[in-house]
Point group: D2
Chain length 305, copies 4
Amino acid sequence: MLGDPTKWYIERITPDLVQLTSIKGVVFSGKSKYQTVEVLENGCFGRCLVLDGKTQSSQADEFIYHQSLVHPVMLAHPNPETVCIAGGGEGATAREALRHNTVKRAVMIDLDAEVVDLCREYLQGHHQGAFDDPRLDLQINDASAYLQGTPERFDVILLDLPDPMEGGPAYLLYTRSFYEMLRDKLNPGGLLVTQSGPASVINYTEVFTAINRTLREVFPTVVPYSVHMQSFGETWGFNAASLGPNPAHLTPAEVDARLAERGIAPLDFYDGVIHSALFALPPYIRAAIESEDRIITAENPLFVF
Amino acid sequence: MLGDPTKWYIERITPDLVQLTSIKGVVFSGKSKYQTVEVLENGCFGRCLVLDGKTQSSQADEFIYHQSLVHPVMLAHPNPETVCIAGGGEGATAREALRHNTVKRAVMIDLDAEVVDLCREYLQGHHQGAFDDPRLDLQINDASAYLQGTPERFDVILLDLPDPMEGGPAYLLYTRSFYEMLRDKLNPGGLLVTQSGPASVINYTEVFTAINRTLREVFPTVVPYSVHMQSFGETWGFNAASLGPNPAHLTPAEVDARLAERGIAPLDFYDGVIHSALFALPPYIRAAIESEDRIITAENPLFVF
Amino acid sequence: MLGDPTKWYIERITPDLVQLTSIKGVVFSGKSKYQTVEVLENGCFGRCLVLDGKTQSSQADEFIYHQSLVHPVMLAHPNPETVCIAGGGEGATAREALRHNTVKRAVMIDLDAEVVDLCREYLQGHHQGAFDDPRLDLQINDASAYLQGTPERFDVILLDLPDPMEGGPAYLLYTRSFYEMLRDKLNPGGLLVTQSGPASVINYTEVFTAINRTLREVFPTVVPYSVHMQSFGETWGFNAASLGPNPAHLTPAEVDARLAERGIAPLDFYDGVIHSALFALPPYIRAAIESEDRIITAENPLFVF
Amino acid sequence: MLGDPTKWYIERITPDLVQLTSIKGVVFSGKSKYQTVEVLENGCFGRCLVLDGKTQSSQADEFIYHQSLVHPVMLAHPNPETVCIAGGGEGATAREALRHNTVKRAVMIDLDAEVVDLCREYLQGHHQGAFDDPRLDLQINDASAYLQGTPERFDVILLDLPDPMEGGPAYLLYTRSFYEMLRDKLNPGGLLVTQSGPASVINYTEVFTAINRTLREVFPTVVPYSVHMQSFGETWGFNAASLGPNPAHLTPAEVDARLAERGIAPLDFYDGVIHSALFALPPYIRAAIESEDRIITAENPLFVF
């Protein structure tokens, strides 16, 4: 009954939609230099990381999010040896990227050392030891500052950043100038992916279509895709951008073959069938993407609710 | 802020997950002979039908639900002339079925005359005049009783029933014996589809996999599929069963060609691309379906939360 | 269970305290020229008037509020013939004042004609016909403007105004200059009372003590008092100010005798015993009142949460 | 906004009334042998003890509850030397009783050693060292079993028990036979008090009036009283029963004089003025008490929601 369980986590998805999930325990609650940080034992979704009141990922379905983020672009690249991860403090994006035995070096740049330390300690189910992989080079820095200051180029860039929120640390990492800089940090034929906010029927135009439009200003090939994330209370959007192959052109059989070649054991969520389905957006979203004309810049940024 | 809006609809998705949506107005609130009935103007999802405290469909995304329910089996059948709809009081299942110009007769059986009358009056955006189509034969009756008493057979049967709930009106319509009876009401090569409860990462085994397993006892071909329904707060499951073609074998091009042949103008949600994606279940759900051994019977019924 | 009832009214009492009450029906929901207006059938408190998201009064306990507001000052005056009511759109303050058979004329000034009309129509249990009493003179106007423009003076002034809220219509009616103007509108020996916001253990210093302090700048006698209002989710404060007798000095026997003299049948809430108890504030509140030094002015207004 | 704060404690006061308070931290959450136990840092009420989902007491207003429970009967007794406390695991009832310098021995009987230990550790603001007072004799036992097995008699018995809940540990401690046993454990002229559940306008007849009626079967003098407890979301009831003086007959001056005689420094809440006000019940409750005819027995127990 209302009051059973008695402790609840309230997350406002939109002004008119709120998700309540029961709290079994508060593993950690505090503030880092940049944001409020909570690690909760959630009665519905297991152990969760919550930054500034927004669920970043949950034990119950983080595999869906991270496999959807990482594998489409990693597989589309014929031989990804160097990977850059921006954000991804939980270590789960690194975990998925490092599954590809082609990878020789992965640079992970996260702004918030405290969050990374908390994740290493409290979210072992998320990173599964990825932080100890000798191929991983963890840099505590602003992703933009770090990349501007390095001559290194990458085969794949994975943007696992917090949503663009007013006053939050990340909104500049969803702008045209940032994407232009990233394009120049990719090797020829390189690919990039960014989480792109909600893509569900009630708010797919909040940032998802505009991020797509902005990337199209910068990259020759941009493909939007989405997956339902139960713990986010929404279908979630991604955009892949490529200087080389189009990830959406891989057939299920090609996906499964490449996964095997790279020594990746069968995954719980991602495979060839799912790869194709991720890119299947309904007509009403395809139309919205085609007609989108907002280009996100530092001067005209966009924010999620 | 909490308290802005001030009026909220609280729907418990699971014991540990609750969805709050703002209420702009209560269009109707009462009890029919069988269930509590509410028509709400929801701040997030527009006009909604709520039966026994469960959202049946909402203006914002009912097209996703009804097009996913209806078109895969309708299109898989080469020439559906007779259709039976069980439930579907909003008239939106009928609306979608009647789009196929092959249909000569659609019998819609709903238990609850009061709900149907309320939908005709208050959910005109749902039925869009389907109740006035001369091909529609509306029968107020228990679906099981009506079908047992008629010699008629159908090309397609569409089961748009309330979830199986303890004490609710519908749980017997998810059992093996009911499906056996339906099989005998299909013409050769006929198909059936049933909404099948939640199919999201947190509760796909509640009834979705068991309905699949039960249908497999009765039909040679059964294909599970799912779609994210934002207003339900979950990915939603369906199972199609066939005495003839397998809907999952239609290619996107075949789907689009048949839609055109049948005079169906481009739909907001469903098309060839979506058709294929609907059937793309992730490995963890495919594995659960394969290993499912629960067969639902009147003696061993299953209920959703 | 959470989701049973499914429709709830959410009122935020403080940033950290929220009251949910079930909604049986929405009798009226709209906006007047000045504020949002709702008349709800509340599952806990019966029919309620809600202005700008704040419960003004509820069928279940409005008698406690209105009898506490009206009778202490009315009884303290030996012969109240003329009464001025500012606010009180429900008509229940008028209802209580008009119980005193000494009253020959009651001027009720309310800003919002739409609210008054809605109350007359939908809150008959509140006003109980008070609007039809020939002694009542209803003026639709700003209380301050009306009183400044009239030469009339009153024996008792009853301030039943909305809380002072930023941007709300009433905050200037809680200031020193307004009270100075009211003092000049009282006959010799006259009394005034104002509802004074929350007086419970968690927020008695929000406005209650400051209204008291402000009145003490203007009146020789000011007595604070309070009563628990379940539907407000708090103990509620009042301040009586007097140019004549001190209401707190009436004994229970005197109160009961005057009630009888004035032809007032036994009331559900107010009598001599309650009169004395209303003025019994605990030491921690008495100390806060003594040490309060905030004087509310138009330049330095105070607002409730 | 809804979702700021994000962690909330939900307590259902009645089926149609729910109180949400923000959670700053979960100090302890677990199960004892008898009940679920939580110590929360509440954003509204400070540190709280919650048993079986019901707030027992909160830092913000426990002084109101415990001073209202303890002092009226302690002061009415001319010389209380021996005190028995049943329940009161927080140690705050003991703290108040031991303020009276007449007390030579206080036996505190609590069923749940784990709760007492948690309170000693986590609620130091509640007990303020009372557990270390050499006059306190702590007994871990069922109050009924302990008292039946002891020949000791007391001047005052303070019943600070959990509400009578179905399946809870305490409902038999609100029955006539228990009160009969307690009467025989009082010295001549002794007094007893019991917390008596909600006494607010919406549910004063739930148990408050029936506990009064039951005590009247056993004691010559029974006086009901109440105080608003903000953290309980209600006005709360108590019943004092006496073999000697009637607590309601003490004047404010007598109360203040006795407090001084017993070396009790001015208290935040309780004094002579408050003493009298506690007993001032409104006519509608006095009428309900007079007409109450339910007598609580083990065979016909009563439960709160």
